[in-house]
């Protein structure tokens, strides 16, 4: 997966996008893949901040929930609640830095943190001393002086500061079943909550006090039961209560001109706005609309001097309904709130006016809506449009539009509300609609305005009536359990059908259309498909006389035909709706005259045309697609379609795209290659159409279809061509321009990544350099840095092998001069903006890379400090985001590796996880972060966790060869660590051991493949190859694959022979010598294991020679301070060589020569024999010594050695409980062979000598044999079958009495 990755992933993840991206998606068919974690920023440096809909900035991140955020008075920090540590606690973060810190350990759950306006106190609810809740204070920011305002007599559930700074408002109940009353409690603690003044003698929820202290806004709480208290059975009152605390003005109940329920009021610091959350419908299906339902944020202008202080009909929607948000906390210049994204809560921020800039005109809202594809965003824009609409007819259409959008979203409560509003507007002046017997008054402009002449008022009412039946039907259907239909339900539907059939007599076509759609839905739900089809079939889609009817037909009508599996009819309807002559002219006239903003827009029809094509070609192979398109082309040519109409256009575009994959993916068996010639052919055809079509909507449709298809086929040429023309075409100031430029940017970035992955770093650097000219996007900046350094890597590697694997992997680390060159380039580029966040990120990245260029701990620490300082400067300058967290994670990671403590490992992990959270749409960066997490976990020793992280990394796109090779080496290492120690040796290596070997083989293969290419990639791979072979050799040896181990080690030896060391050659030379020594040892061990004694002896000679050339300190080179591996001394190595040499000489038939090294080996093991594995090592050495002695005919010495070996085995068995380690088997068999063989072959004298030797060796041979035999029987592994049989025979022989001199035992 290469080119088109970002774009395709963005499309694929569309339905699961966080709000940050969903709002942007709503504007156009594309969206930038990054989720911003800074404050509101323009999508591109090319356009102003108000050019596009804003994205809520995510201010917290993590695996846990973060909620109830509010700014400190100075605006630099914010406090919030987090359950990261299982207990809900108060956290604080610097604005722009998602990494926060817990402020204090309450030892129990807390909630609702907020800092006082004077900045002296932190107020929160605590359950530490009272599980029902205590309002408590701590001094800010020291968090000392804890004291609580309750004393156990009350249960506090909400608290806020009074503006006087001396009081706290606390909602508390005095008894289990008491009312939840608002108290005014002095901060000084002079009175507890129970004794404090009661502000309001009724139950309230989440009250808010205006900054001047005069107005109280709250949601009333009613008892839902008379037998238990309000706390246990409450229902929220409708509307928002406004109460003036001074004077005798009547309390007002405000019901905003919005569907659903209001909650969580909050005043702005200047008192001019009241913010609140509105649950627009019963999203959770509990038949109650309350704070548990999906909610949207609003604000309304507030004038404390006026009465009423606000209007209920001009609430401004701040967030899209795509994500549920609540708990608004407006600051001086930003609004904080909490949203649920992917099942978790986090704190977000927006400008105070929300997603839609207040400067947007009606036309701009319409333009943005044209490009919006997400229903919630369309509804948001429609709501804003409605606020700006005062013409009665337009307002009617606005309500209808909102109703239709709600119907599309299946948001029934909202649909019902808007339909009711449309009925009201359509009602003649002087009449009022009633609902449940209660007059709905309180909206400004209470008198229903007159509809313009020519408009059939009754049509609007009739349509609303029909749709309300549909809404009711849907609500009843959703309330049913799956598949359940009962008489009550059927009866209710029958009643609705009667109402709808009565409407069929209405003169207005739109009424009958709406009625028939509703009838079809109900009949279908009742299982009467024929009647449903009959109702639909009676509709002529060409005669819809209103925009509402058209849209209903396009959504409900087409959807119903598809649900009835009548695709061919659905296609006819889509074509008919799209291809209406009257709309062609009407749309153009409306656009020119700036008339009704709710007229059918060309963008909508083009979207319908796109749906048509998708449906037409779905599931068809190439031949069938061509036939289907040809059939419709025939209609176009035959005049059945409007010449130059939208449907004809979309079909023409589709024909031009046919050489690429069809919409929805390939059909099995079709080619996926989109070669250059094919792309050029498609491009030429499409560009011809593009040049002919001048309108923005038409061009957008063409470009959208082209880019989607090109992204799916990795057609880079097409992507670049049309991303460029589109971004060049969209006018400056248009809402889509920023997104068009972002699409262009993504195409170019993809090109850069593809080049990097292929090792073409020069091209990658150049492409990224171009992007850095546009703005300071960290991705482009850091990508340019990486490519610049990698481009220079190839030149730096002059054939010298890297001293250590770490240096080889961080090959740019050897490029100190190249780091300087790039650093100079960075400073030159940012000479005029030295404090730009991008500059800081680059400096930090460079400093991190310098760490590996030196072994001097002080110098390393200096580089890390420089990196941290650069990152602090970035944060100070307002920079934030995933790259900042990632780099901070790298710094902490390095600190841990340099032995500064495990707390840095924790810090690094936290930062990596934050960066991961903030990189939800950036698969490449996610891959890099997972890689870093894996390395961190393996460094800590959590290899299983490391493997999980590496597995995640493997799901990400391929990076360059060095990264991939390093990844597989890391996987190999961790796999080895999780493999249990081999018990039975080479016969049955554990699967994890084999997996480790496989991973190492993969790394070697990648090296070999990369070295076959040209350029920097080949150079880096050549530097890494010896290391990959080293690992493979080691892991293969451990898995018992000795031949492979020998081959790999030999190859590594040959590659590492360059760069010969010598006296005064420096540290690099010493490291190379140490590497040669290690490789020689490994070769020797492998050769011994497979019986290649001569090869082993040669390798051992080489190892001795290398060891002789090394100083003692050289043996520790390359080891990190945090490395837990054992230290190995010169003596240790020499004795290891002795052991191998003894075995090799023995195998070569030089038993006498083998004695000395074996004895030295044994002597070296004896002092450390308290280590379990050492017992077995000693036992094995004794075994070899015994064999050597036996070879030389010294029976006594042989038995002595074997006896010592058996005693070592007994010590091991006593320590571990393992009865028969392999060494014991070998020793017993050797002893038996000597005893039985000699005793049988020799005369009694020799037999006496043999027996004496056994006695002297203190071997109870019979017991040993018996014990081992039983153990092997119990073990049952086939590998020991032969040994078991021999032991059985030996035991039999041992049991036979001797019959005489020279006679064999019987």
């Amino acid at each position: 997966m290469s080119l088109g990755l970002r774009l395709r992933s963005a499309i694929r993840h569309r339905t699961a996008l966080p709000l940050a991206v969903a709002a942007v998606y709503s504007l156009a068919f594309w969206a930038p893949s990054q989720a911003a974690a800074a404050g509101p920023a323009p999508a591109s440096g090319n356009v102003g901040a108000d050019a596009a809909l804003r994205e809520p900035a995510r201010w917290t991140a993590g695996d846990s929930d973060q909620l109830l955020g509010s700014l400190t008075p100075d605006g630099r920090d914010f406090v919030y609640l987090s359950n990261r540590d299982a207990v809900a606690s108060v956290w604080s973060s610097r604005v722009g830095d998602a990494a926060g810190r817990a402020l204090f350990d309450e030892g129990a759950d807390v909630s609702l943190p907020r800092v006082s306006p004077d900045g002296r106190w932190l107020l929160y609810l605590s359950s530490r001393d009272d599980a029902t809740g205590d309002a408590c204070l701590r001094a800010w920011p020291s968090m000392t002086e804890r004291r609580c305002l309750g004393d156990g007599r009350t249960a506090e559930s909400f608290a806020f500061f009074f503006p006087d700074g001396a009081h706290v408002g606390v909602v508390a109940r005095a008894a289990m079943h008491g009312e939840m009353l608002l108290h005014k409690v002095p901060i000084d603690g002079s009175r507890k909550v129970a004794d404090a003044d009661i502000v309001l003698p009724r139950s309230v929820a989440t009250p808010a006090l205006s900054p001047d202290g005069r107005w109280l806004a709250y949601v009333a709480v009613e008892r839902a039961s008379t037998t238990v208290g309000v706390q246990f059975a409450m229902q929220l009152g409708a509307g928002l209560h406004l109460r003036r605390l001074e004077g005798k003005a009547a309390e007002r109940v405000v019901r905003f001109d919005l569907p659903g329920a209001t909650g969580f009021p909050a005043f702005s610091p200047d008192g001019k706005w009241l913010y609140f959350a509105q649950a627009l419908g019963d999203s959770n299906g509990d038949q109650v609309i309350d704070g548990d339902d999906r909610s949207v944020l609003f604000r309304v202008a507030f004038d404390p001097r006026a009465d009423p202080p606000l209007r209920s009909d001009n609430a401004v929607q701040l967030t899209s309904g795509a994500t549920s948000c609540r708990y608004p906390a407006p600051g001086r210049d930003r609004l904080l709130f909490t949203c649920e994204v992917r099942g978790r809560l986090d704190v977000f921020a927006l400008p105070l006016e929300g997603v839609v800039p207040s400067t947007w005109s009606e036309s701009r809202l319409l333009l943005a809506s044209d490009g919006a594809t997400e229903a919630g965003t369309r509804a948001l824009l429609a709501a804003h449009l409605q606020l700006r609409t005062h013409d009665p007819l337009a307002r009617l259409h606005g309500w209808q539009r909102l109703a239709e959008l709600a119907v599309q979203r299946d948001d029934l409560a909202a649909a019902s509300f808007y339909l009711g509003r449309s009925q009201k507007v359509a009602t003649p002046a002087g009449e009022t609609e009633t609902k449940d017997g209660e007059a709905t008054d309180a909206t400004a402009g209470n008198a229903a305005p007159a509809i313009r002449p020519g408009t059939d008022r009754s049509a609007a009412r009739g349509v609303a009536t029909a749709l309300l039946e549909w809404v009711g039907h849907r609500a009843e259907t959703l309330r049913l359990e799956h598949g359940a239909r009962d008489e009550t339900y059927a009866s209710a539907q029958a009643t609705r059908l009667k109402t709808l059939h009565d409407l069929l007599g209405a003169p207005a076509e739109d009424v009958t259309i709406a009625a028939r759609l509703a009838i079809a839905a109900i009949e279908d739900a009742l299982g009467r498909e024929e009647r449903a089809e009959a109702a639909l079939g009676a509709i002529d889609p060409t005669v819809a006389t209103s925009a509402l009817a058209w849209r209903l037909l396009a959504s409900l009508g087409v959807g119903r035909w598809l649900a009835l599996q009548r695709d061919e009819v659905a296609l006819r309807w889509m074509a008919a709706l799209c291809d209406r002559e009257d709309l062609e002219g009407a749309a153009a006239r409306a656009a020119e005259a700036g008339a009704d903003p709710y007229a059918i827009r060309e963008a909508e029809r083009l979207e319908l045309a796109d749906r048509f094509v998708q449906r037409l070609l779905r599931g068809k192979g190439a031949a069938a697609r061509a036939a289907a398109l040809a059939a419709w082309r025939g209609k176009a040519e035959g005049g059945s379609l409007i010449d130059g109409g939208l449907l004809a256009l979309r079909l023409e575009v589709e024909r031009a795209l046919q050489p690429l994959a069809p919409p929805g993916g390939r059909v099995a068996g079709e080619s996926v290659v989109a070669d250059a010639a094919l792309q050029e052919q498609v491009r030429a055809a499409l560009f011809a159409i593009y040049g002919r079509e001048r309108g923005l909507d038409r061009r957008r449709a063409l470009v959208r279809a082209t880019l989607e298809r090109a992204a799916a086929r990795d057609a880079s040429h097409l992507l670049y061509q049309f991303a460029t023309v589109w971004a060049s075409f969209v006018p400056r100031g248009h809402p889509e321009r920023a997104l068009a430029i972002d699409v262009y940017r993504q195409v170019v970035l993809e090109r850069a990544y593809t080049a990097s992955a292929g090792g073409a770093f020069a091209e990658s650097r150049g492409v990224l350099l171009g992007l850095t000219l546009i703005d300071d996007d960290p991705e482009a900046q850091l990508g340019w840095l990486f490519a610049s350094l990698r481009e220079r890597d190839g030149g730096a590697n002059q054939g010298e092998p890297a001293g250590t694997l770490a240096a080889a992997l961080a090959s740019r680390a050897r490029s100190g001069p190249h780091l300087d060159a790039v650093a100079a380039e960075v400073e030159a580029r940012f000479a005029k903006q030295p404090n730009a966040p991008a500059a800081g990120l680059l400096r930090a990245s460079l400093a991190l890379r310098r760490v590996a260029t030196t072994r001097d701990p002080d110098a390393q620490r200096g580089h890390l400090e420089a990196a941290e300082a650069a990152l602090d400067a970035v944060a100070e300058a307002g920079g934030s985001g995933r790259h900042l967290h990632l780099l901070r994670g790298h710094v902490a990671h390095q600190r841990f590796l340099r032995g500064e403590g495990r707390s840095f490992a924790v810090q690094a992990h936290d930062r990596y996880r934050l960066a991961l959270e903030l990189s939800a749409e950036d698969l490449r960066l996610q891959g890099g972060i997972w890689h870093a997490i894996g390395l961190l976990q393996s460094a800590v020793g959590n290899h299983r966790e490391a493997l999980l992280a590496f597995d995640q990394r493997l799901r990400s796109p391929r990076a360059d060869s060095a990264m991939e090779i390093g990844l597989w080496l890391s996987i190999a290492r961790s796999r080895w660590h999780v493999a249990p120690p081999a018990i039975d040796g080479a016969a049955s290596p554990h699967r994890e051991s084999l997996a480790a070997v496989a991973a190492a083989r993969r790394a070697v293969a990648l090296c070999d493949a990369a070295t076959a290419t040209a350029g920097g990639e080949a150079e880096v791979a050549r530097a890494l190859l010896p290391w990959a072979l080293d690992r493979l050799a080691l892991l293969a040896f451990d898995a018992g694959l000795h031949a492979e181990a020998l081959q790999a080690a030999s190859r590594a030896m040959a590659l590492g022979a360059r760069g010969a060391a010598g006296p005064g050659a420096g540290e690099q030379a010493a490291i190379a010598e140490a590497n040669r020594m290690r490789r020689s040892l490994l070769r020797a061990a492998a050769a011994v294991a497979i019986g290649q004694a001569e090869v082993a002896l040669q390798a051992l000679n080489a190892a001795r020679a290398s060891l002789a050339r090394l100083k003692d300190d050289d043996l520790e080179l390359g080891r990190r301070p945090s490395d837990p591996a054992l230290r190995i001394s010169r003596d240790h190595l020499l004795r290891l060589i002795d052991g191998l040499q003894g075995r090799a000489l023995l195998a070569a038939g030089q038993a006498r020569a083998a004695l000395a090294p074996l004895q030295r080996r044994i002597a070296s093991l004896t002092p450390s024999e308290d280590a379990d594995p050492a017992h077995l090592t000693l036992a094995a050495a004794q075994w070899h010594l015994g064999l050597a002695q036996a070879e030389l005919g010294d029976l006594r010495a042989a038995m002595q050695a074997l006896g010592s070996g058996l005693r070592a085995c007994r010590r091991f068995s006593a320590a571990t409980g393992t009865v028969a380690p392999p060494e014991r088997v070998y020793l017993v068999e050797a002893a038996l062979a000597l005893h039985l063989g000699r005793a049988a072959a020799l005369d009694d004298l020799q037999g006496v000598l043999a027996a004496e030797a056994i006695d002297n060796a203190r071997i109870d041979l019979a017991s040993e044999a018996e014990s081992v035999y039983r153990a092997l029987c119990a073990h049952g592994h086939p590998r020991w079958a032969a040994a078991r049989d021999r032991l059985q025979m030996a035991l039999t022989l041992l049991a036979c009495p001797r019959t005489g001199k020279g006679a064999s035992p019987q």
Binding site: G45, N46, E680, R683, F687, Y690, G691, H717, Y720, Q721, F722, T724, V725, A727, S728, F729, P731, R732, I741, Y744, R751, A762, E763, R765, G766, V767, L769, G770, L773, I774, D775, A828, R829, A831
Partner: protein, 171 residues
């Protein structure tokens, strides 16, 4: 990145005259509102000033063997310095491919005629929208990339400078 001024330094009077003449020409030829004044940037003539403030970014792609260039990037321009840029702008476009190939051989600068100069169309959206070269129907606004999407901007002051420079004869 430093920028040294090369080439002839016009006298201040001459530059003012040329600017005035350019503006008058612009008023006569263009339907767009007259720019009241073209602010002075650093030293040098209009083109040099525009280069120093903005056009130098074009060198990332429009320099021989520029690493940022992608297949299809115009191949004859050299923006590595103001002088080289000035010189290379005397020619016509080369090496354009795909949607942009229709503008090959179209002159970058037509002295005295900003509205017919490909350079102008590449940096200014208004000029691009009305760009029309006789004999080159393939070089319409659709076939011209907006350079601002590649280097950031647009820099309206620099654009005005370039227009003035072309209108004054593009010396």
């Amino acid at each position: 990145m430093t920028h040294s001024f090369h080439g002839r330094i016009p006298s201040r009077a001459a530059s003012i005259f040329r600017a005035s003449a350019g503006l008058a020409l612009l008023a006569a030829l263009s339907a767009t509102p007259l720019v009241a004044c073209v602010p002075e940037l650093d030293g040098g003539d209009d083109f040099t000033q525009a280069y120093d403030s903005w056009l130098h970014k074009c060198s990332a792609c429009h320099t021989p063997a520029a690493s940022s260039a992608v297949p299809g990037t115009e191949s004859s321009l050299d923006f590595s310095s103001a002088d080289k840029a000035r010189a290379s702008l005397r020619g016509g476009a080369k090496g354009l491919t795909g949607n942009f190939a229709g503008c090959n051989d179209v002159a970058f600068v037509v002295p005295g005629k900003p509205e017919q100069s490909l350079l102008m169309a590449a940096i200014d959206s208004d000029a691009r929208a009305t760009f029309d070269v006789a004999g080159k129907p393939g070089c319409s606004s659709d076939a011209i990339s907006d350079m601002a999407i590649k280097v950031g901007g647009p820099d309206t002051v620099a654009i005005a400078k370039v227009r003035a420079w072309i209108a004054a004869g593009a010396l």
